[in-house]
């Protein structure tokens, strides 16, 4: 029965990720694409540096900004929806007195936090920004930073849970949060920074592009938390009901 519940939750997580991906795609298309186009226009006007533009076009801009963008955002939504549902399955009933919907929203919030950890050090860059010679290092550092964010978030949660009996929930959460921020700050201080913004690139465009990428994530995770929370609540309620009818004597909480 547990395996069926888990499978149901994971399938719903991926479906919720797909649905949230559709919402994020709308934001990416209407807020993000105009900035991508503007950055490509800048890149082409200064094409002595480097670009996709002065090579033969493998995929047209029209395809990149529609079907290509949709592929990227929707697959991203499904994949992260699956991972978030796994985290949900683990977190359910283990992180305090939270029901399914609240747990789903908390997991979404944690995912947004994990996204922000690399973002604050290695923010999203529009086309024309970035040195192709360092793409290997920057990609490695981006994923490393994300992994570090996950590990530190887990560590801070464990620390908070340990301190809770002594300090009470409020101060234990504050202590866990402080430990997380300090550890991330130390990582920021020691990891290398890259400044690849070309001379003359409009500051407003860079700012708007980065804001639009944050909007994409905010919509993706808000949407996921609410949609998955709704779907998961029903799975968890059904399970509790079955447990209640089949094993009357056994208490639900263990």
């Amino acid at each position: 029965m547990n395996s069926v519940t888990i499978r149901n939750l994971l399938v719903r997580g991926m479906l919720a990720g797909l649905a949230a991906g559709v919402l994020a795609l709308v934001i990416a298309y209407f807020l993000g694409e105009p900035r991508v186009d503007a950055a490509i226009a800048f890149e082409e006007a200064h094409s002595h540096s480097h670009s996709h533009g002065d090579e033969v076009e493998v995929v047209s801009r029209g395809m990149q900004s529609t079907a290509g963008l949709a592929t990227g955002v929707l697959v991203y939504g499904v994949a992260l929806g699956g991972i978030a549902a796994l985290v949900f399955c683990f977190a359910l009933g283990r992180i305090g007195r939270f029901g399914a919907r609240a747990t789903a929203v908390l997991v979404s919030g944690a995912a947004l936090l994990v996204y922000l950890v690399p973002f604050l050090k290695y923010p999203a860059n529009p086309p024309a920004v970035g040195d192709p010679d360092t793409i290997g290092q920057r990609t490695a550092l981006y994923f490393l930073m994300m992994l570090l964010g996950i590990l530190l978030a887990v560590g801070a949660t464990i620390l908070g849970r340990r301190l809770a009996p002594k300090l009470g929930n409020w101060y234990a959460t504050v202590a866990g949060g402080t430990a997380f921020v300090v550890a991330v700050g130390i990582a920021y201080a020691f990891l290398p920074a890259y400044d690849n913004v070309p001379h003359g690139f409009p500051g407003t465009l860079l700012w708007q592009f980065r804001l639009s990428t944050l909007a994409v994530q905010l919509v993706l995770w808000t949407g996921f938390g609410l949609i998955f929370g709704h779907l998961a609540e029903r799975v968890v309620a059904t399970r509790a009901e079955e447990a209640g009818t089949t094993a009357e004597a056994a208490p639900v909480a263990t």
Binding site: N2, S3, T5, R7, L10, A28, E33, V36, H50, V58, V59, M63, Q64, S65, G68, T71, G72, V73, V75, Y76, V78, A79, G82, L86, C89, F90, L92, G93, R94, G96, F98, G99, A100, F119, P123, A124, N125, P127, G130, P132, I135, G136, R138, T139, A140, Y142, S212, T213, V216, E233, R234, V236, A237, R239, A240, E241, A243, V252, A253, T254
Partner: protein, 71 residues
């Protein structure tokens, strides 16, 4: 519709899912998700499984707008 009203667990913390039942699913979905994320986020950028630039060019805008380093 689930009858949450009738459920004795209403308002209570939901029962945990045993780690033993979760482990095989975690492996399966985890690996699948990471492979998908790799192709969206890094293939034909930092490293390549397939030669050429088709994958990179196809997901190019998504890569930028999802915050992955693209080039």
């Amino acid at each position: 519709m689930a009858q949450t009203i009738a459920s004795p667990a209403t308002g209570a913390t939901p029962a945990t899912l045993p780690l033993k039942a979760l482990a095989p699913w975690a492996l399966f979905v985890g690996v699948l998700a990471l492979v998908l994320l790799y192709f969206i986020g890094a293939e034909q950028g930092a490293t390549s499984v397939f030669s050429g630039t088709n994958v990179h060019e196809w997901v190019h805008d998504g890569r930028h707008l999802l915050g992955f380093p693209c080039h």
